[in-house]
C-alpha cells in the first residue's frame, strides 16, 4: 500500500512545519495549505486520503471549510480545535468531521487518531453476505456505500458506513454504546457518547424516511442502539 496522503490546513506556519516534519517521518505524504480557501483549491487539484483541519482560521474558518469539503467528498477529516467545549466538538462532527483532536495534543495521540480514521474495518464475519436492504422506499447498497431514499441517492462516509454495517450485521439486537465505539472507532474509545449521537443522527438523515421518527436506527434508552430490520 502506498503512503497515505495527508493535507494539513492550518493558518499557523509553525504548526504546519511541525506537522509536515512529523507526519513525513511517520511515513505519510504531506502537503499543507494556509487557509480554508487554499485547502479547497488543493483538494480540487489532487486527491488525498485525509485532511487535518484547524478549526480557528481567519477567512472561511474550519467549520465552513469542513462543510464545503463534505458536500463533495467522503474524504476522512480530523479537526483540530483549541476550545475543549463539547458544543464545538459536536458542531465539528455535525459539520462532517470524522474525529477531532484538542490542541495542544501529543503526537502519538494524533497519529493514533489518524490511523484509526484511515483504518478500514476488516470484513466482519458474514458481512460479505449482506443483502442490499430494500424496505419502505429505502435502498441500501452496502457494496457501493450508497443509500437511496425515494430516489435520492447519497453516499456514506467511511465511518458512517462502518457504523451502519456493524449495526446491520447484528439486526434487532441492542448494541451498547461502548461496544459500538470500540468496534467502529477503535479500542481507545468507549465514553465518547457525543460521537455516536452525531453519527447516528447523520445516518438517520441519510436512510430514514423521517429522521425524527426513526424506523431502522432505534435508540434503546440507557443501553445503546439497535437496527430494526422489518421482517
Amino acid at each position: 500500500m502506498s503512503a497515505a496522503k495527508v493535507l494539513v490546513i492550518d493558518d499557523d506556519p509553525q504548526i504546519r512545519r511541525v506537522m509536515r516534519s512529523t507526519l513525513t517521518a511517520h511515513g505519510y505524504q504531506v502537503n499543507d495549505a494556509r487557509s480554508g480557501e487554499e485547502g479547497l483549491e488543493e483538494l480540487r487539484k489532487s486527491s488525498y486520503d485525509l485532511v487535518l483541519l484547524d478549526m480557528n482560521m481567519p477567512g472561511m474558518g474550519g467549520m465552513e471549510t469542513c462543510r464545503m469539503i463534505r458536500s463533495s467528498s467522503e474524504i476522512a477529516i480530523i479537526m483540530l480545535t483549541v476550545n475543549n467545549a463539547e458544543r464545538q466538538k459536536v458542531e465539528a462532527l455535525d459539520a462532517g468531521a470524522d474525529d477531532y483532536v484538542t490542541k495542544p495534543f501529543s503526537t502519538p495521540e494524533l497519529l493514533a487518531r489518524i490511523r484509526a480514521t484511515l483504518r478500514r474495518l476488516p470484513q466482519a464475519p458474514g458481512q460479505e453476505n449482506l443483502q442490499p436492504l430494500v424496505a419502505e422506499g429505502v435502498n441500501l447498497d452496502l457494496s457501493s456505500r450508497e443509500v437511496t431514499v425515494r430516489g435520492q441517492t447519497s453516499r456514506l462516509t467511511a465511518r458512517e458506513f462502518e457504523l451502519l454495517s456493524y449495526l446491520l450485521a447484528r439486526p434487532n439486537k441492542t448494541l451498547a454504546h461502548r461496544e459500538l465505539l470500540q468496534a467502529v472507532w477503535g479500542p481507545d474509545y468507549g465514553d465518547e457518547l457525543e460521537y455516536l449521537r452525531v453519527f447516528i443522527n447523520r445516518l438517520r438523515k441519510k436512510i430514514e424516511p423521517d429522521p425524527s421518527k426513526p424506523r431502522f436506527l432505534v435508540t434503546d434508552a440507557w443501553a445503546g442502539y439497535r437496527f430494526h430490520l422489518p421482517q
Binding site: D12, Q14, I15, N83, N84, D191, A221
Partner: protein, 515 residues
C-alpha cells in the same frame, strides 16, 4: 442621609448659563411695589378721567343732570374695561361726588334738596358699581383664560423639551434647565430622593433645601416664607421620588400639578434610560471579555501546540533515539509545556466563571461515565497510581454540564495525586444521599489542617507545606464555582495523617435520556 450636591445650573449645564445669569428677574420686593404703583397710577388716571368729564360738561358744554349722569356712566364703563374693579370703584365714588356737587341742585354743594335726586344719585352709584363689577369680571375671565392658554403652551413646550432631552448628558440638570427656560420661573429647585442630590437654578438659600427634603419625605406641599415659593412633592405611583421648589411663577395649582407630573415622568424616563444603558454597557463588556478570553486562549495554545507536538514525538521514539540526558531535557520541556497549558486553561476558565460569561450546558448524564471520562483525561498522570473506582452503574442519571463536572473531577483527582504519597491508594466512589447522587474522592495523604480547610478554596492559596509542589492555586476555587453554578457545593472532610475526602452532590435528572 446621602450627601447633598447643589448644582448651580450655570455650571452644570454648559449652554444654559447664558439664560440663568444674564436674565436675573427683578428683585421680588420691587415686583410687589411695582404692582401697587401701577394700581395707584391707574386709579389716578380713572379719577382724572372723571374730573375731566366733570370739567368738560359743567364748564365747556353744559348739560342737564340726566345727560351728565349717563356720560359719567360711560366714563366708568371705560375705566372698568381698561382697569380693574378697584379703579372702577374709586372712579364710581368720585363720579358720584362730582355728579352731586356739580349737577344736582343745589349746584356747588354736597346737599340735595329734592328727595327724588337722592334716589337718582343712589341709582347712579348702584349702576356704576354693578357695571364696573361686571366689566371687571369679564376682564378677569379673559385674563384667566389667557393665562391658562399660556400655561398649557408652556407645559406643552416643556413636555416636548423633556422628550427631546439628550440622554448622553446628565438628565436631571436638563430637566431643571428646561423648566427654567420654558415656564418662566424665577427659581427652581429639584431634589432627587434616591440620590439625595439637589439641583437648583435661581434659588440660593439653604432654607429651600430643607423644605425640598421635608416635602419629599412627608409628601406634602409646603409654602416658603416668601409667599411665591411653593415646594411640591414629585410622586410616581403614589411614592414620593423627590420634590420641586418653584418661585416667581404665575402657574395655577392645576398647571403646577401637571408640571410636577411631567417632572416625575421625565425622571422616570431618565432612570429607565440609565438602567438600559447600564445593562447595555454590561452586556458589551461581557461580550468583549468573552472574545478576548477566546483570543487569549488561541494565542497561548497555538505555540504550545507546536511545542507539544515536537516533544511528544521525540519522546515517543525508540529508546535509542535520544541520548539519556537529551531525553531528560526533552521531558522537562514537555512537562513545562503541559504546566503552561494547564495554567492558561485554568486562568481562562476561572476568568470565564467569575466574569459570568459562561452558561451551563445542562444535559442528562450517567455518573459512571462522567467519572470514566475524567479518568481517561488523567490517564497519563494517574497510570502508575492505585485508583479504586466504585461508582455503581445503577446510579440514576444526573442533570449537569458534563464538561464542567469532568473539570471538577480532574481537578480533585489532580489534587489527590499531588498531595498524597505515590504509593498510597485513591478511592473514587458514588452513592445516593439526600435525593441526589453523591460523588466522592478520597486520598490517604497527610490531610488538611483545620485552619486551612476554608482557605484552600481561596484563589491562589497554596498549602503552607506544599510550596514545592507545582500548582496554580486555581483548582479548588474552580471546583467550588462550578458546583455552585449547579446549585451544589463541595464538602471537605479531613483528618491529619488519615487523608482527605472531597464530596459533592449532583442533581438527579427527571425524565428520559436524550440519546
Amino acid at each position: 442621609m446621602t450627601a447633598v450636591r447643589s448644582v448651580n445650573i450655570a455650571e452644570a449645564a454648559p449652554r444654559p448659563s447664558v439664560d440663568t445669569q444674564q436674565a436675573p428677574e427683578p428683585p421680588k420686593l420691587s415686583r410687589a411695589a411695582n404692582k401697587t404703583f401701577r394700581l395707584i397710577l391707574r386709579s389716578t388716571v380713572g379719577v382724572g378721567l372723571v374730573v375731566a368729564t366733570t370739567f368738560f360738561f359743567s364748564r365747556l358744554v353744559p348739560l342737564n343732570a340726566t345727560t351728565a349722569g349717563f356720560c359719567y356712566l360711560v366714563a366708568i364703563l371705560l375705566i372698568a374695561t381698561k382697569g380693574g374693579l378697584v379703579e372702577a370703584t374709586i372712579a364710581s365714588i368720585a363720579a358720584m361726588l362730582c355728579f352731586n356737587f356739580f349737577f344736582l341742585p343745589p349746584v356747588g354743594t354736597f346737599t340735595i334738596s329734592d328727595p327724588q335726586n337722592w334716589i337718582a344719585l343712589l341709582a347712579f352709584l348702584a349702576t356704576s358699581l354693578t357695571a364696573s363689577q361686571l366689566s371687571a369680571r369679564a376682564k378677569m375671565r379673559a385674563l384667566e383664560s389667557e393665562e391658562r392658554r399660556n400655561e398649557i403652551e408652556r407645559l406643552y413646550s416643556l413636555s416636548r423639551a423633556l422628550l427631546l432631552i439628550d440622554t448622553a448628558r446628565p438628565i436631571v440638570n436638563q430637566i431643571v434647565h428646561q423648566i427654567f427656560t420654558t415656564c418662566g420661573f424665577a427659581g427652581i429647585g429639584l431634589y432627587i430622593r434616591s440620590t439625595g442630590e439637589i439641583y437648583r437654578a435661581g434659588l440660593e438659600n439653604a432654607e429651600v433645601e430643607d423644605k425640598l427634603r421635608e416635602s419629599a419625605v412627608r409628601s406634602v406641599v409646603l409654602k416658603g416664607e416668601s409667599p411665591e415659593l411653593v415646594v411640591t412633592p414629585v410622586r410616581l405611583g403614589g411614592e414620593p421620588i423627590g420634590s420641586v421648589a418653584l418661585s416667581g411663577g404665575e402657574f395655577s395649582d392645576a398647571a403646577l400639578q401637571s408640571l410636577v407630573n411631567l417632572v416625575a415622568i421625565g425622571l422616570e424616563r431618565a432612570n429607565a434610560q440609565k438602567v438600559v444603558t447600564q445593562a447595555e454597557v454590561a452586556r458589551q463588556s461581557e461580550e468583549l471579555k468573552s472574545t478576548m478570553l477566546d483570543a487569549l486562549a488561541h494565542e497561548f495554545k497555538t505555540p504550545l501546540t507546536s511545542i507539544k507536538a515536537v516533544t511528544t514525538d521525540l519522546l515517543s521514539g525508540s529508546p535509542n533515539a535520544l541520548q539519556p540526558h537529551q531525553h531528560e531535557l526533552m521531558t522537562i520541556v514537555d512537562e513545562s509545556a503541559d504546566r503552561l497549558s494547564k495554567l492558561v486553561s485554568d486562568a481562562i476558565l476561572l476568568a470565564r466563571i467569575e466574569g459570568g460569561t459562561f452558561r451551563l450546558n445542562l444535559g442528562t448524564h450517567i455518573p459512571s461515565s462522567l467519572v470514566n471520562g475524567a479518568l481517561r483525561q488523567m490517564k497519563s498522570l494517574s497510570a502508575e497510581r492505585d485508583i479504586r473506582v466504585d461508582v455503581p452503574e445503577e446510579l440514576p442519571p444526573v442533570r449537569v454540564d458534563a464538561e464542567l463536572i469532568q473539570v471538577v473531577l480532574t481537578h480533585l483527582l489532580d489534587n489527590a495525586l499531588k498531595y498524597s504519597s505515590p504509593g498510597s491508594p485513591i478511592h473514587i466512589g458514588g452513592r445516593m444521599g439526600d435525593g441526589k447522587v453523591i460523588l466522592f474522592l478520597a486520598d490517604k495523604g497527610k490531610g488538611i489542617r483545620e485552619d486551612e480547610q476554608e482557605k484552600i478554596f481561596e484563589k491562589f492559596y497554596r498549602g503552607k507545606s506544599e510550596h514545592h509542589l507545582q500548582g496554580t492555586g486555581m483548582g479548588l476555587p474552580i471546583v467550588r464555582e462550578i458546583l455552585r453554578a449547579h446549585g451544589e457545593d463541595v464538602t471537605l472532610t479531613s483528618s491529619p495523617e488519615q487523608g482527605t475526602e472531597f464530596s459533592f452532590g449532583l442533581p438527579i435528572a427527571s425524565g428520559g435520556f436524550p440519546l
